[in-house]
């Protein structure tokens, strides 16, 4: 379990990093290394150059705009996300998801943006991005791009990022009034990737759901939303028959993979259970806040 040979560079400027990425076809960004290095050690990937971004200034910042939008830089670790009062206040679903990620040692090194760039189908952050309509800010020698989450996760471990692009930050827009949400997941052991998970975000106005996002992870090749179920929730109180129909829509829409940890039927069933639990949690919170 040793990585194949590779070259390593640790530029101290963003431009330096972008230059390396644009001139070396087979290069990869190295952030926390918590996903990339295992892949290399198992010889499932063999990039010829690693561009370590850990010494680039300014990438470790968490910035809150006047309107409450939160921007998380490429070097912000999961642990930093967990500890940030700004994120807890302005992007509570990001804060809520972070503790589910692996174990403390992994969160100390692994980055929030790295997790998004890696796009593991069972990872939490891509689903948070989908549920909250986050925006990816990428950069390269050709300039910056902003990519909405809905267009970013293109397939299994695949994103809209080009090989020469660095994902500089992710921006979570400000929550509208009445927003509530929850993160629920089932994993086999504490800290494992989820068998199935759901990031649920609702907007509730006077007891009625006016907007709904159900972003699942661990149930397909990428994190995915279930618009059929979301539509059934909008206009309802999120309980009783409306919730039952949403659960049915979730089960009818998703086609999860089967592996040693869970069959397709099991994950589909879990997705339904999580819909019930996630929506109930989110609604319970919104009424708590009102009360």
């Amino acid at each position: 379990m040793k990585a194949p040979p590779f070259a390593y560079a640790r530029p101290t400027t963003l431009d330096g990093a972008l230059e390396l990425l644009s001139t070396h076809a087979d290069s990869k960004v190295l952030a926390g290394g918590q996903s990339l290095l295992p892949v290399m050690n198992l010889r499932l990937g063999a990039p010829s150059l690693l561009v370590d971004i850990s010494r680039i200034p300014m990438l470790d910042r968490i910035v809150v705009d006047d309107d409450g939008a939160v921007t998380i830089g490429a070097l912000v670790t999961h642990t930093a996300v967990e500890g940030s009062a700004d994120i807890a206040r302005h992007a509570p679903l990001v804060a809520e998801a972070a503790p589910y990620i692996g174990h403390r040692a992994i969160r100390n090194r692994g980055t929030c943006v790295g997790s998004i760039a890696h796009a593991d189908p069972a990872a939490e952050m891509p689903a948070v991005c989908l549920a909250t309509d986050a925006i990816m800010i990428s950069t390269s020698t050709h300039g910056d791009r902003v990519i909405p989450a809905s267009a970013f996760f293109t397939g299994f471990l695949d994103t809209a990022l080009r090989d020469d692009e660095l994902l500089a930050a992710v921006r979570f827009p400000a929550s509208p009034p009445g927003a509530t949400g929850s993160v629920v997941e089932v994993s086999r052991r504490h800290g494992d990737y989820a068998l199935a998970g759901l990031v649920c975000r609702l907007v509730v106005e006077r007891g009625t759901i006016t907007d709904a996002a159900l972003a699942y992870f661990g149930v397909g090749p990428t994190a995915e939303r279930v618009p059929e179920a979301e539509a059934l929730l909008v206009g309802s109180d999120g309980r009783g028959p409306a919730l039952d129909r949403a659960v049915e829509a979730v089960e009818a829409t998703l086609d999860p993979p089967s592996d040693v940890h869970g069959t397709t039927a099991y994950r589909r069933h879990l997705a339904g259970v999580l819909c019930r639990r996630g929506v109930a949690d989110a609604i319970a919170r919104s009424t708590e806040e009102v009360a």
Binding site: M1, P4, R188, R189
Partner: protein, 868 residues
């Protein structure tokens, strides 16, 4: 949920000054090993890298079953840093094949080499060994070795292996059924015809893997001047490894070996003397051993005889056996009691190249080839009367040994122990067992902590099935049918004697008292109110730790002779004290418990005792090392015996010096004095100095000592059974299938305890592995035998957050024996799977036939989701 406090025998006594006989034994003195290991001063095989050492990596088969049609190493050999690439055909030139060990009548055991050359039999089968300047380079080169395969049908399940048309993994065996034998005890037909009911169920246990923190590893050092070979390894049995390297890692011509034996009168004389002594000692045991096993083997594999003679002659003809040293070991659970093919290949490479080589297994290799266990299918029929009296037991066992046999301990001995132990502590009138061993294209089956545990699992499951069908409670049916004190002396239907140490029923009764059964209904209702189902499961067993004196004669006649335990005790010329054991500690705390036993004999402090082990030039000879719950009873018995012996010779000398009678001399806190006159005492150093002055020193194991005594301990007459009842409470989430364990109770009886804290640790560790077996760990393969769990993403080991508090209650039944500590290392693992699955069945109300119950399987059983 509240629960009774853990009950400890003995006190937490951290005092380290011995006040005389019996001061330490029975107390929870702190582990001597802890400081060294916790501050990082442990020395594991990977920590030792001599200058110029080369590193090894294996080229392994990516296919479960294939013919190897070509292998091209040229590109790999050209890679800078690569020293050598050794293939399977090279290894046939360099080494001897592995030989059968513990053959059973009718069993086919293949002859095979450490690397495969013509056929690969599982994913991970090593076909070449790359030796290079670093492990990374070796892995790079391994990728460049070009192997061509012709893929064959992979046999991934017991059903496929039993199909007589399945592609034979070992062509000489004709098919994949390697062993099939049925034994009757009592009038099986009669009892089954006469009983009111016969109930039958099939129980399946999928493959698990022994997962020590430290993987396997070996360093073979070759002295560049003398060519002498010394080995460091993570092994539970250093002497076994030494002999096997001597036997297999180099091939010598038969005539050459015989000539060198015959021309060396010293060696010849020593051999004949040893042989005479061995036969003299064990004549009876040897006579009872059965030769039909070997006859069958020779019929199916005639080359066996030739290879045995050749290898035997080689062992006789050599006096340059390698020196093996094992230091700290990060666990083994039985897997490191095997000598690995990789170890022989690395040793052969080092000998051929003449340079030191280290191989440290990585986790992926370990999960594929480090040792797997417990894949068994058992169909049990119980004949019983309407009142719940169990009368007859009929068992059909199939064990999946994987591709290669465990070496030396594996499926055959496990099958025998399973059969002997299968009836448990129940008064059956008749018992039949059919035992089969099949080969599949999977990693090899090895001994794993309580290797026979599935006899307990299947029996204790079936007892619950019978109870449910008859409307009896789990405890009622057990109490009614178990042997108890009124029955002694008794014997199991399979032979071994039962005595007062088989106190299973007492542990059951104690467990019932502690289990607050009157609160069960309230607990169930509370669980339902939270969307859960609560269940409770009992399981009871007795295990041979070490078993009655006749035990091994019933398992495999003739093997008792292997089980004796030598030990040495010495006092150096400077007065320090050593205990020399053939046990090989790898997590069992021998340094602490043996120091407790010895310090009590010798009247000194724990830290005055140095335990010597692991180094074959110093540790007494014993092929088995540590395993089989023998450390406490047999290894400990040897320490006590040799300690008492040493005390007597020291006291004799001191009595001379004190001009007193030996009967009046006592030892307290290292002060050897006439009882009542401590002021005029002597230290060990003073006595040793006088021995030196008087010219009375003796030759000890590796030098000159003031005193040195050797003893051999045979378990005959001592020991007996170690027993327990486990009770598990589970809560099943009916929506997710997730199982939680709100309470777990073990009532165990291993006789008088040496160190309660260590016993608790052994029990809890075993239970944790049992929890792993049922809820998390599965060495999964698909139908074609492709492994599905070759990293820790898929092979899930429970962590601290998954293991509940485990209450341990001790009972300490005395036996008539002298050294009465009974083994406790394996029991936790033996009882746990049965208690947990019984609890799950109780919770969900559906018969549970699988041992492994991940959340999806629970929902399938409950009918909530459909099986894929």
């Amino acid at each position: 949920m509240t629960s009774p406090e853990t009950h400890h025998t003995g006190t937490f006594d951290t005092a380290t000054q011995g006040s005389g006989l019996g001061a330490f034994t029975g107390t929870s003195v702190k582990r001597v090993e802890d400081h060294r290991l916790l501050v990082g001063d442990g020395r594991y095989v990977a920590d030792v890298v001599p200058p110029g050492c080369l590193h090894a990596a294996f080229v392994r088969s990516p296919f479960p079953h294939a013919r190897l049609t070509g292998i091209d190493t040229s590109e790999a050999t050209r890679l800078p840093g690569v020293v050598s690439v050794i293939t399977g055909s090279d290894i046939e030139e360099l080494t001897n094949p592995f030989l059968p060990f513990l053959a059973l009548p009718g069993l086919y055991t293949p002859l095979y080499h450490s690397l495969s050359s013509e056929r690969v039999r599982f994913v991970g089968d090593p076909v070449a060994l790359v030796v290079a300047s670093s492990r990374a380079v070796a892995e790079d080169a391994a990728e460049l070795v070009d192997v061509t395969y012709e893929v064959l049908d992979g046999i991934g399940t017991i059903d496929r292996a039993l199909d007589p048309e399945s592609e034979p993994i070992w062509p000489r065996a004709k098919n994949n059924l390697l062993y099939d034998r049925t034994t009757d005890h009592g009038d099986v037909e009669g009892v089954f015809a006469d009983a009111d009911h016969v109930f039958t169920e099939t129980f399946r246990c999928p493959r698990q893997s022994n997962q020590p923190m430290e993987t396997r590893g070996i360093l073979v050092e070759v002295d560049s001047v003398t060519g002498a070979v010394s080995v460091r390894a993570a092994t539970q049995a250093p002497h076994m490894l030494r002999w096997q390297i001597a036997a297999y890692a180099r091939k010598e011509s038969g005539p050459q070996s015989i000539r060198s034996f015959l021309t060396n009168p010293e060696r010849r004389g020593a051999f004949l003397a040893a042989a005479k002594a061995f036969v003299g000692d064990k004549g009876e045991a040897l006579q009872s051993s059965d030769s039909t096993a070997m006859q069958h083997q020779l019929k199916t594999e005639p080359r066996t005889a030739l290879q045995m003679v050749r290898t035997g002659a080689q062992l006789l003809g050599r006096d340059d056996y390698p020196h093996v040293d094992a230091d700290d070991i990060g666990g083994g659970f039985g897997a490191k009691g095997s000598v690995a093919r990789e170890e022989i290949a690395v040793a052969a490479a080092a000998l051929a190249i003449g340079r030191s080589i280290q191989w440290i297994e990585d986790r992926m290799e370990n999960l594929m080839d480090g040792g797997q266990a417990r894949e068994e299918e058992l169909t049990l029929s119980i004949a019983c009367d309407a009142d719940g009296t169990v009368r007859g037991l009929d068992v059909d066992l199939v064990l999946d040994q994987g591709a290669y046999p465990g070496n030396p301990v594996g499926a055959p001995i496990t099958v025998r122990i399973m059969e002997v132990m299968q009836p448990g502590a129940y008064r059956f009138e008749a018992f039949r067992q059919r035992s089969r061993i099949v080969a599949t294209n999977k990693g090899k089956y090895v001994a794993y902590r309580g290797p026979w545990a599935n006899e307990t699992w299947a029996r204790e499951r079936m007892i619950n099935v019978v109870a449910r069908r008859l409307g009896l409670s789990q405890t009622e049916i057990r109490r009614k049918n178990m042997y108890g004190d009124e029955d002694w002396p008794a014997a199991m239907l399979t032979g071994p004697a039962l005595d007062v140490t088989c106190s299973v029923r007492k542990t059951l009764e104690r467990a019932e008292e502690l289990a607050d059964l009157d609160r069960l209904d309230a607990l169930r209702a509370d669980a339902v109110s939270r969307g859960k189902r609560l269940g409770i499961g009992f399981a009871s067993y007795h295990e041979a730790a070490p078993g009655p004196p006749d035990y091994f004669e019933h398992v495999n006649p003739g093997t008792s002779a292997l089980l004796d335990q030598p030990a040495t005790a010495s006092v150096s010329v400077d007065g320090t004290i050593q205990i020399w054991t053939s046990q090989m500690p790898h997590g069992q705390s021998h340094e602490t418990t043996y120091a407790q036993l010895a310090a009590d004999q010798l009247g000194v402090a724990i830290e005055d005792i140095e335990l010597v082990y692991g180094d074959t030039s110093r540790a007494p000879f014993d092929l088995l090392g540590t395993g089989g719950s023998r450390g406490g009873p047999v290894g400990g018995g040897a320490v006590r015996k040799v300690g008492r012996h040493l005390r007597s010779v020291v006291v004799a000398k001191a009595a001379d010096m004190l001009e007193a009678s030996v009967d009046d001399v006592t030892i307290e806190r290292g002060n050897i004095h006439v009882a009542g006159v401590p002021a005029r005492g002597l230290t060990y150093a003073e006595v040793a100095a006088r021995v030196v002055a008087d010219g009375e020193t003796v030759d000890g194991r590796d030098g000159t000592y003031a005193f040195s005594v050797d003893d051999t301990y045979t378990s005959a007459g001592d020991g007996g059974w170690s027993v327990a009842t486990h009770v598990c409470w589970v809560e099943v989430d009916v929506e997710t299938g997730i199982v939680e364990i709100p309470r777990y109770l073990v009532v165990e009886d291993c006789g008088p305890i040496i160190n309660p804290a260590i016993v608790d640790g052994q029990v809890r560790g075993g239970v944790a592995q049992g929890i792993g077996a049922v809820l998390y760990e599965r060495a999964a393969y698909d139908e074609q035998a492709n492994p599905q769990a070759s990293t820790y993403m898929d092979y899930l080991i429970p962590t601290a957050t998954e293991i509940p508090r485990i209450e341990v209650d001790h009972m300490e039944t005395l036996s008539p024996g002298e050294n009465d500590h009974r083994g406790v290392g394996e029991g936790g693992m033996i009882g746990a799977p049965a208690a947990i699955t019984n609890a799950i069945e109780d919770a969900i109300g559906v018969t549970v036939n699988d041992q492994h119950l991940p959340p999806y399987r629970i929902l399938e059983l409950m009918g909530i989701i459909r099986p894929d």
